[in-house]
Amino acid sequence: MSSVANPIVRPQWALLVGDSLKQYGPWHTHAKLIEARNAYPDDLAIRGYLEIIRNMIVRELLSHPKGLQAVPKLSAEFLTNFDRFNLNAQEGYLISLIDGRMDLQKLQILSPFDPFNTMFIIAKLVNERAITIPQ
């Protein structure tokens, strides 16, 4: 019997992430990478890929024609049926600041969270249709 230990086979993350982005988009890829991070907690590269996707999501939000001056509003769906949205404490706090007048820059200043995470949470709220950012 061979005494050579089986090498740990690491998935080729770059290819998997690229394919997933093309087929399913950033949010699905983000969810899959969180699963991967939990399955391979010591693989630091996964954290890098996760940051690439989070960066992509926030950049998409900031690519709004008005950039940081864009003003988010609560969606009609959220106003009529807000208990459908399973918000965590951070999301709940940020959504409580949205009054239809404050722009992204002011939200970033007022938020107790760091600037990047504030923008990421807002992007998540947009994706879940709890808020909208009119053009």
């Binding site: 890098g48 926030v58 950049r59 760091d114």
Partner: protein
């Protein structure tokens, strides 16, 4: 030792000796005897002793396997590169065959080169700082109406002077690394503070290039022991690198998180992530090597020394950490730094 081996070893121009674990000489060739005489015993015995908890240099050769072990050791005012040839069996105690190569001149030449680079770099930095200060002053005068052409030209001059300052700083760091003067002086480090400082120092450059630069760090990031100055410099190098390859309206994020897993000691993971063009798979391995650059063209003009990421790697490794990179072509790149948490007392 076989009879024919002794005359053969005696004809070699390199000093060779078989030394036991205690530093006793079991065999030495003629050149060894000519160079070191009988005094060799004393410094070999010193090398076999641990001093203040630090292992003696000779002990390292007994712990290493037979795939070679090298150590530069100062002996009687000269520097010798000592290589382990092989372990020798047949003596009462373990013994190793060592070769002694005099590298004193080589080391002196390296030191002279490094001193010269440091001197030139220092001399270049002075006048360049003056040019930068003047440009900044002229461009910041709100009351002065500059013709847009002159304003653009001055901004371009400012950008190029910043680039030149970065190149000079990289050369200075590189010369310190090469001369062995790159030492981490330990102090308590607030990692979140390091990220903020690095981001703040490049915020105006990012804004000028219409790039978003945001930081992300949890509140639970502990203080570590390291060098504030060097870690800030590593993050600045990474952000500067990202700025070169991130297009307008792009995003650079700088994040830190604490990672606790069953198989890994408590670790801080810092990521500098950009929405640039990504790195080709074949280039990923070489980006941390000196003078290596990817085939990607900088979007801000001009090249670099190819030392920025090499310096980052040296800084992180001096802190007992590791570097790695994640990249998706056409989407972005994330530089990942892993730093062990050695908590400040």
């Amino acid at each position: 030792m076989t009879t024919y081996a002794i005359p053969l070893l005696d004809r070699l121009p390199t000093p060779i000796a078989v030394v036991s674990e205690s530093g006793a000489i079991e065999y030495r060739n003629k050149v060894f005897e000519e160079i070191f005489g009988s005094d060799a015993k004393s410094w070999l015995k010193d090398g076999a002793r641990a001093v203040a908890g630090e292992r003696g240099w000779l002990q390292g050769f007994f712990l290493a396997g037979d795939d070679g072990h090298t150590n530069d050791v100062e002996i009687e005012g000269r520097v010798y590169r000592i290589d382990k040839i092989m372990s020798i069996e047949g003596y009462d105690t373990p013994a190793v065959a060592l070769s002694f190569d005099d590298v004193t001149r080589q080391r002196e030449a390296e030191q002279a080169k490094s001193d010269f680079t440091s001197m030139i770099v220092h001399d270049l930095r002075g006048p360049l700082s003056g040019i930068q200060g003047t440009l900044e002053f002229v461009l910041s005068q709100e009351g002065t109406k500059l013709d847009s052409l002159y304003s653009d030209l001055l901004t371009e001059a400012q950008r190029e002077s910043e680039r030149m300052m970065n190149l000079i700083n990289e050369l200075l760091d590189f010369s310190k690394i090469e001369s062995g003067n790159f030492v981490v002086e330990p102090e308590p480090v607030r990692v979140a503070g390091v990220l903020k400082r690095a981001v703040r120092s490049l915020q105006s450059v990012a804004a000028r290039d219409e790039i978003f630069l945001l930081s992300a760090h949890g509140r639970d990031i502990p203080q570590i022991i390291g060098s504030v100055e060097k870690l800030t410099q590593a993050i600045i190098n990474l952000i500067s690198n990202s700025l070169k390859f991130t297009p307008k309206k792009g995003l650079i994020s700088v994040a830190a998180q604490i990672v606790r897993t069953d198989n890994m000691p408590e670790t801080i993971v810092i990521t500098v992530t950009d929405s640039g063009m990504g790195i080709k798979a074949e280039d990923v391995e070489q980006i941390w090597s000196k003078y290596k650059q990817t085939k990607n063209k900088s979007l801000r003009g001009g090249g670099g020394t190819g030392l920025g990421l090499y310096i980052v790697k040296q800084i992180v490794e001096a802190h007992g950490g590791e570097v790695t990179v994640a990249s998706v072509e056409g989407v972005g790149t994330s530089m990942v730094l892993k730093l062990p948490v050695k908590r400040a007392a």
